[in-house]
Amino acid sequence: MTEPVAPRRAKLELLVRKPAVDGAEEAFEVREIRSAVAFVQLRPQRVEPDAFELAEVSSRVSGNRNFILKNRLTERYLLLSEPERFLWDQMDGQTSLQDLATAYVLRYGEFNFEIIPSLIRKLQRAQLLVLTPASRLRKALARNRARHLVKMLENALLVLERVNISSRSVDGFFRALYRFGGFLFFTRMAAALCVLLAIAGGVAGVRLWNDAAQVADSLGANPVLALLAVKLLFLFTVAAHQLLHGLALVHYGRRVREFGFTFLHGFVPTFYVDVTDVFMTSRRARVVTAVSGALVHLVLGSLWFLVAVQASPGFLQGFAAASGMIQWQAFVIALYPFCFIEMDGYHVLVDVLGVPTLKSDAMGYAGALIRGRAAAPATREEWLWIGYVVLSVVSIAAFAAFNVWLIVHAS
């Protein structure tokens, strides 16, 4: 008996020219893009709010909530289930199908993704959907491509975005790492040690703060350069952060799918680990997995502060103090959910609140409010969105001000 053969996916072969640099000849590269890859990057957008109407119809027998979606222009009606209504709400033209699938898993814990293409087909038939295939940043760059600087930026982002050094056969490595000592990180002893180190580090930090001027002076004639070196060293500790996430996943008996290095959004160098399998475990496991990575920065920061407080005044003391500061900042940023970046703390927050699309919803609402297209917050959900945006803006401003103050103070 022959196995059914999956239909071959169509592919496009594109040639992308690269501008000549420093007198060198213009070059090009060939990219093969499969339709499936393009599909998951689609950003479906529902029609304008005044073009549709939504009404709830709850079953008194089963208690299930259903919704009737009406296209006001074509007078077509659709029956949506609650998960379909949830997906419909995400179709704001900014959320890709990939993000949609993630939000769906977080909300319903199901991997039956057929619901998404099936809903899209249904919505298309009812002419309730517009499909937009590119990010807003890319659209803006493409629109202004005639400007030399914009073109350069676009090309740089393209090149950096394609940098991805990763492996999908890392589960064995993480399991070995866990077996040969990694498990120690998840013992009561390690937790106690972590707390003790944090206290000792905090005390050392306070002592250093009292001599802040002297410590800053010891960074030498180029304090800004020294801070950049500290930042570079910090990048490698991000790898340790991701390793801990992976070890936590192994601790809870799940599989690490991928580990690698890439440029996030095309310009932020970072290591990453794919811990999607954590959704198959308990909320406690998800929280521990999220927090464990950030604790690396707490421990390293504390150790740096202890080194700094023991060192004689000089470059080593300044370098250690700056490293400790950056590690602790990273700890706070990783766990602090209100900064528009979906880091560990954000994932814990949305998991606990049960609102996987908090950022996207909050941004959409705030944008509409600023443009005068949304009413003042009235519901608990709207207040949550406003709270998220306000806290994030204030936090980022405070963080930027603190760093500027640090650099000015060091100079």
């Binding site: 169509a10 594109l14 040639l15 690269k18 599909f39 689609l42 499909l131 295939p133």
Partner: protein, 167 residues
């Protein structure tokens, strides 16, 4: 490369397979050699041109502009294939951009319009076999273009998830 080597190579070129040895030798003398370094553009879409090129070694990539620096690859031409013949006949600007593959240099033989017209005038029988083979290749390319259009349409449907059957 000697004229003899060129004439021998022309045996493998479909356009000249029906030529006699003398015709091929005469044609070999009219051809010029040209090397295109890897990745280098031979000519661009909308350039004016009065030459066609036979690929002797290497690969040429045929592409057409889509948007900004992005072009769609229409075909790859290997040894024995030819490009640029359209402008030779209709005198219109080049319809696509041709460049050597990024992996290796391409060695080409160049036939200009004047040499082709001389060939046609001097040897109508050879010219007839040349045009017959040319028509055969055009038919194959038209079929390949139709397949490409269908493939691109299928790509668009799959990439957008557009539900055509249900409409």
């Amino acid at each position: 490369m000697s004229s003899h080597d060129v004439a021998e190579f022309l045996r493998d070129v479909r356009l000249f397979q029906a030529f006699s040895d003398d015709d091929r030798a005469a044609l070999a003398r009219a051809l010029r050699e040209r090397t295109v370094r890897k990745g280098q553009v031979l000519f661009r879409e909308n350039d004016q041109g009065a030459e066609m090129y036979l690929v002797r070694r290497g690969t040429l990539v045929v592409s057409k502009a889509v948007t900004g620096p992005v072009e769609q690859i229409l075909a790859r031409m290997g040894p024995g294939d030819f490009v640029g013949e359209m402008s030779l006949f209709d005198r219109a600007p080049r319809s696509a951009t041709i460049q050597a593959d990024a992996a290796a240099d391409a060695w080409l033989l160049v036939l200009d319009r004047a040499s082709l017209e001389t060939l046609i005038d001097a040897n109508p029988r050879a010219a007839a076999s040349f045009f017959h083979a040319l028509v055969q290749v055009f038919i194959e390319r038209m079929r390949a273009s139709s397949d490409l259009v269908a493939e691109v349409t299928r790509w668009g449907l799959e990439a957008t998830g557009l539900d055509v059957e249900g409409r």
